[in-house]
Symmetry: C2
Subunit: 363 residues, 2 copies
């Protein structure tokens, strides 16, 4: 299992340059590193000083790089979908649609990227994977996907099980959906956690993203006010998807102290202005701080309390509701539905306060 690192921050703050330097630093320390570029433009290769392809290839000692091609990834995933279909349907209908015809819709790029990163991780070939994504809300949507998608399946399974339509359709779609989507329509299996592959993938994804030994992000900012505001916002938003933010990289500026106050308790590393690649690599931290950073969520069952770390927001920007069967936290244009273990599961919220950047919910 690799440590997966990514960088969040406003465009133009030097995220890609820092991602490349990080990959080189860790490779220089003897780790087997993969640098994953999401940006399909030639800018990624120009900054890297190499021509990465759609499959991982060597670009230095201990260092491989790949530039994701969504069209190719979609083609490969489509073959897997067709194989699954052929297993479960007597007369497959998708066999006549070719992966080479499929266009890319919004969201596919990051969904395919997440799957590609998962496979690179699983390959066991890498100690560290550096993901150079869009570094904004889209990267957070990607890393939030396992949790949000699990919620959609959990919620809609229940709704369908309870419905007339679900009961009518059940014999027709049960085999396929239970295999692919972990959606079971038969009442008796409701509530049981399925042990099929896709459900397990989502669970594995969720726990990896919540574990700072597996996945961590670092904020990149200059001393430009818009860049600082963006970094602070992304800090809070990262917590909303359960992602640990390990520290701050202050690029092209020396005013570390003023910035440090804004991002307490995170460590702020100042990167020298107009640094040579070697100077930049030296100035980077060791990327182990994430293990000490505040956790996004802590569930304290004896105290009947849930604590969420939500920096970067003020009280008015955080909303707590209980419309459906779960508690919903809204902040940073993202909603998180908190699935609580028993005995808190299904309980009503007794109280909530926003204190010292923590939302504390009592049950």
């Amino acid at each position: 299992m690799a440590l997966i690192l990514t960088f969040l921050g406003k465009g133009g703050t030097g995220r890609t340059t820092i991602a490349i330097a990080t990959a080189k630093k860790l490779a220089g320390l003897g780790q087997r590193v993969l640098l994953v570029g999401q940006d399909p433009t030639p800018a990624f290769g120009l900054l890297l000083g190499a021509s990465p392809g759609a499959d991982a290839q060597d670009v230095g000692a201990n260092l491989q790089a790949v530039q994701l091609h969504s069209t190719l990834l979609l083609e490969r995933s489509w073959e897997e979908v067709k194989n699954l279909e052929a297993q479960y349907l007597r007369s497959p209908i998708l066999k006549n649609v070719f992966g080479q015809e499929l266009g890319i819709l919004p969201g596919m790029d990051t969904a395919l990227a997440l799957n590609a990163i998962r496979e690179y991780d699983k390959s066991g070939k890498y100690d560290a994977i550096i993901y150079d994504g869009s570094g904004n809300q889209d990267t957070l949507r990607m890393l939030g996907m396992p949790e949000i998608l699990s919620w959609y399946f959990r919620r809609f399974r229940q709704v369908l099980t309870d419905s007339d339509v679900g009961k009518t359709l059940s014999p027709f779609i049960q085999p396929v959906t239970s295999a692919i989507l972990n959606v079971s329509f038969s009442g008796d299996s409701l509530g049981k956690s399925s042990n099929n592959e896709s459900a397990e993938l989502l669970e594995q994804g969720k726990s990896a993203i919540a574990d700072p030994h597996r996945v961590a992000s670092y904020l990149v900012t200059t001393d430009n006010p818009a860049a600082i505001a963006t970094a602070k916002y992304l800090w809070g938003s990262a917590q909303q998807v359960g992602l640990t933010v390990g520290g701050v990289l202050l690029n092209q500026s020396q005013s570390t102290e003023a910035i440090a106050t804004e991002f307490e308790p995170l460590e702020v590393n100042s990167l020298p202005n107009c640094a040579t690649p070697a100077e930049l690599i030296d100035a980077l931290p060791d990327f182990k701080q994430a293990r000490k950073a505040p956790r996004a969520i802590t569930i304290d069952i004896p105290a009947r309390q849930v604590r969420l770390f939500l920096p970067g927001f003020d009280k008015k920007q955080v909303k707590l509701t209980q419309y459906g069967p779960e508690v919903t936290i809204e902040a940073g244009d993202q909603r998180r539905n908190i699935f609580l273990p028993s005995p808190l599961n299904g309980q009503s919220v007794k109280g909530a306060k926003f204190q010292d950047r923590y939302l504390i919910i009592s049950f």
Copy 2:
């Protein structure tokens, strides 16, 4: 109907600053302008010098601004989905799921943004809508959505109609899917173009995006090589989704001539370095050049030829295939399936050449 303008380019080249200046320029000329910000962070408000909300509000004479909130847009769209469902299903199953619970999955941000822009356009309140999106491939995925989604519906309708599963499920899902998705499973309606609302929306979207009087984009770059390479790549990629690129805005640089050669035949406007807002507004073009820019696709029925303008790519980066019933063009990590009018429809490709940045296909 408004003119919808957006800016493409590498992060940090000044796209948001230019979008704001464009909105102010057009408002100053007496047009009723709406500035739409996709970025949810406070950076948008900081650069604008106002605090835009989730609904359009006045921020100057003739000028309104909105900062899109995906959670809110999803809530509102969910209400519409529930209303549709209630019309078509005797026992609606979605009524127990609340819009306020729904998390945001990848792709939802841009899909919801496209719908919001469509509604602002339809309102008749604006002469120009300036969309400040991510300015990269994601903005192109968004604007490519009507065409790609139409293809998916067209292709899968045919596949389902031909299948055993489609025939079995038809009586159950026909009413809902034909209303919502324009997917008809009954053989007799295949091939007929449906006149329902969603199909019409996609058609309207496709023709708006292909029409430079309705939708146009401008490239933003500095003289940084990575920024120039990104702009060139996005130029070609924009053609792949049928979007017109009207011109180039060269920010923070005076080396117009060297850049102009790279982007011929587009006009390059040089924007002064460290300009005041008023100087920037003066230096902007009138945004009418898009009408003279090369069209992304020309279909010449008498000559039995299709011509695609694909700048920014070389011959090796452009792929032409015919796997399914349509011709597929692959370039810039995007696929475009070309739906040809009769008598070219269904014909085999006789020849193709890539000449002077045009892909010319003969049938």
